[in-house]
């Protein structure tokens, strides 16, 4: 990781996302270019309504831009069908949401196994991996509980396990600590930091200035859909 210049996984080239509300246009993302490299811990900061979530959805190819190009592993996502894009996304990108977004009809473990179904893994493999991931997020004893029987922090850890289901290269997290108290939030952040150390690329949206100080290497500051400034952690290895 230290030696070579890291590979670019996701690249946004002059990307715009507009919403048309009657006669007015909301420019949620307005001309953003950036490169996410393997092993990065990226944060997107900004006020409410500045376009952070919209941008993250574009980075994760959950959404398609109104204008501009998005490259996922060098491939232009606009050339993919909706279904193919979805399947590639399921393999390469893991999502963590502010509101956890677990399926309450299913147990914690089943939630973790869901992404693997769509990649065609058989049930034995799914169960084996889900057990390991539940172990990783220290919830082996809650495996067969429904999400609504778990605390917020526990739910978010299940969501982290789910995001890792298909061993994606990138984890995208939209305010992962937004619904948690600061102590629980810190444990969730530690998990993310750990994952980053193990080589996962993390892109996180937040408006918590404290998180920005401690965790990410690069911070994109967003205002009105535009990147206002970019800050990099000075204590990064390469400057040492």
């Amino acid at each position: 990781m230290e030696k070579k210049e890291n590979k670019v996984i996701i690249e946004l080239q002059n990307v715009h996302k507009y919403y048309y509300m009657g006669h007015s246009i909301v420019k949620a993302v307005d001309g953003v270019s950036l490169k996410i490299k393997e092993g990065d811990f990226v944060a997107i900061m900004g006020a409410s309504g500045s376009g952070k979530s919209t941008m993250l959805n574009l980075v994760g190819s959950l959404d398609v831009p109104t204008k501009g190009t998005i490259l996922l592993d060098g491939e232009d996502i606009s050339e993919l069908s909706e279904s193919d894009l979805s399947q590639i996304r399921g393999k390469k990108i893991g999502f963590i949401f502010q509101s956890f977004n677990l399926i309450n009809n299913l147990t914690a473990k089943e939630n973790v196994m869901i992404p693997m179904i769509f990649q065609g893994h058989d049930s034995e493999e799914r169960s084996f991996r889900a057990n390991k991931l539940m172990d990783l997020v220290e919830l082996s004893d809650r495996m067969h509980h429904s999400p609504n029987e778990l605390s917020g922090g526990q739910q978010q850890r299940v969501a982290i396990a789910r995001s890792l289901a298909n061993s994606p290269e990138v984890i995208l997290a939209d305010e992962p600590t937004g619904n948690l108290d600061s102590k629980t939030g810190a444990t969730v952040m530690d998990f993310l930091k750990d994952l980053n150390k193990k080589g996962k690329t993390i892109v996180m949206v937040t408006h918590d200035i404290k998180l920005v100080k401690d965790y990410p290497d690069i911070v994109y500051w967003l205002k009105d859909g535009k990147i206002e400034k970019i800050t990099k952690k000075t204590v990064k290895r390469r400057t040492q």
Binding site: N57, G60, L62, D63, E82, S83, D84, S86, Q87, I88, R89, G90, K91, G94, F95, F97, N101, L102, I103, N105, L106, E110, I114, P115, I117, F118, Q119, G120, S123, R162, A165, N166
Partner: protein, 407 residues
């Protein structure tokens, strides 16, 4: 992967509320109707046929009626058939015997209990009596049947003996005396059970006794005709019709009497039953159609309610086909469950109905359980569920992930 969708669908179905299950009522009722109709099979036909006393198949019966004249209802009294008609019929070359029979309702008293029962006449002539007994198809279970010159004596249907509760707890047996329209009659026999509510509850006595008791003179409620040969059934029928048209002065097509052969009676029963079956099938189709709409409705609601879930599964890599399959399978399973419940209940009705018919008629019918047909109805309900699920499933598959995630 399809297997996974099935198990996901089952999990989702388990967590469904009562409202979803209520919408299956349509499919349930429809399939119940179809399956019970099939499993009752010809038991139904047998039941009706035996109620109408169609056990013997070589006799023709003649009754007044048919098209009962014109004008406002009640203004035309149907001209009765008479003893003279019976004699004239007997003189026809194709006819061996023609016997008149009268059936009246009377007050029957025993053990200080009064009930109203049918009384049927029996001829005093042996060959005529034999004919009537062939038709009634019920020998004595106790005592003997009314025979030659048994004036003042009666035989009774099985229920007089069996249903003692109708007679103040006392079963009527040979040797007892009963009052019929206040006249005393000696019971000399009980007939075996035939399963028809009319015959099992009827009193038999000699025609002469009946004529005295009811004073109907020459009238005949019924003429029972035995053709010279069974092959002559249709010709005999035509001969009788021609004769009676002449005697009663009516034109062809305007008959105020009815000559029925067992076949024609059976055909009538069959056509009535067919009508009933068609009616039931129409009702079944309507309820299945309502069921279809019901499933479309719950599935559409379900897609709305689970929008977020759709967003989640899309964000973790579900293709549109995956989402479609999931909802489609769930809908198909809904239909199947409704059909399965209907098939089970319908089979149950088939068994219960057959049991009831056997009990009533003393028959030994077995319900007609056709596994191929049951399989087909289940397949049908699975497909109906699937068809109902197509549009909602397409709606689900087309959800934009970002919007769906917003809920």
């Amino acid at each position: 992967m399809i297997k996974d969708f099935f198990s996901l669908a089952l999990k989702n179905l388990k967590s469904r509320g009562i409202r979803s299950w209520l919408t299956l009522l349509g499919i349930f009722i429809g399939i119940t109707a179809v399956v019970s109709l099939i499993s009752l099979g010809n038991g139904l036909q047998l039941a009706v046929a035996s109620q109408m006393g169609l056990a013997s198949n070589e006799l023709i019966t003649v009754q007044a009626g048919g098209i009962t004249g014109y004008g406002p209802p009640g203004s035309t009294v149907v001209e009765p058939i008479t003893k003279g008609d019976a004699r004239a019929i007997e003189r026809l070359s194709s006819v061996e015997i023609a016997v008149r029979q009268n059936i009246k309702s009377a007050k029957v008293e025993f053990n200080d209990v009064v009930n109203f029962r049918y009384v049927g006449s029996v001829s005093n002539k042996e060959e005529e009596r034999d004919l009537m007994q062939t038709r009634a198809n019920a020998g004595p279970i106790m005592g003997k049947l009314v025979g030659e010159n048994d004036f003042g004596k009666v035989t009774l249907g099985y229920n007089f003996y069996d249903k003692s509760e109708e007679w103040g707890g006392e079963a009527i047996i040979p040797g007892d005396t009963i009052l019929i329209n206040d006249e005393r009659f000696e019971v000399i026999g009980i007939r075996e059970k035939v399963g028809s509510l009319i015959s099992d509850n009827a009193v038999s006595m000699l025609e002469e006794d009946m004529e005295d008791l009811f004073e109907y003179g020459n009238i005949a409620d019924l003429i029972i005709v035995k053709p010279k040969s069974e092959d002559l059934m249709d010709k005999t029928k035509a001969d009788i019709e021609k004769l009676l048209r002449q005697r009663r002065g009516v034109k062809e097509g305007e008959e105020n009497f009815e000559v029925s052969t067992p076949e024609s009676a059976l055909a009538t029963i069959n056509s009535v039953l067919e009508g009933v079956q068609i009616f039931i099938l129409i009702v079944a189709s309507i309820s299945i159609f309502i069921g279809l709409i019901g499933i479309i409705n719950t599935m559409t609601t379900s897609v709305m309610e689970r929008k977020k879930e759709i967003g989640i599964t899309k964000s973790v890599g579900a293709r549109n086909e995956h989402i479609f399959s999931q909802f489609f399978i769930e809908s198909s399973l809904l239909g199947l469950i409704g059909g399965l419940a209907g098939a089970i209940f319908g089979t149950f009705i088939g068994f219960a109905g057959t049991y009831g018919i056997n009990n009533l008629l003393g028959t030994e019918l077995v319900p007609n359980i056709d596994f191929v047909l049951i399989f087909l109805t289940l397949l049908g309900s699975f497909l109906i569920g699937g068809i109902a699920g197509i549009i909602p499933a397409m709606k689900a598959a087309k959800q934009n992930p970002v919007e769906a995630l917003r809920g």
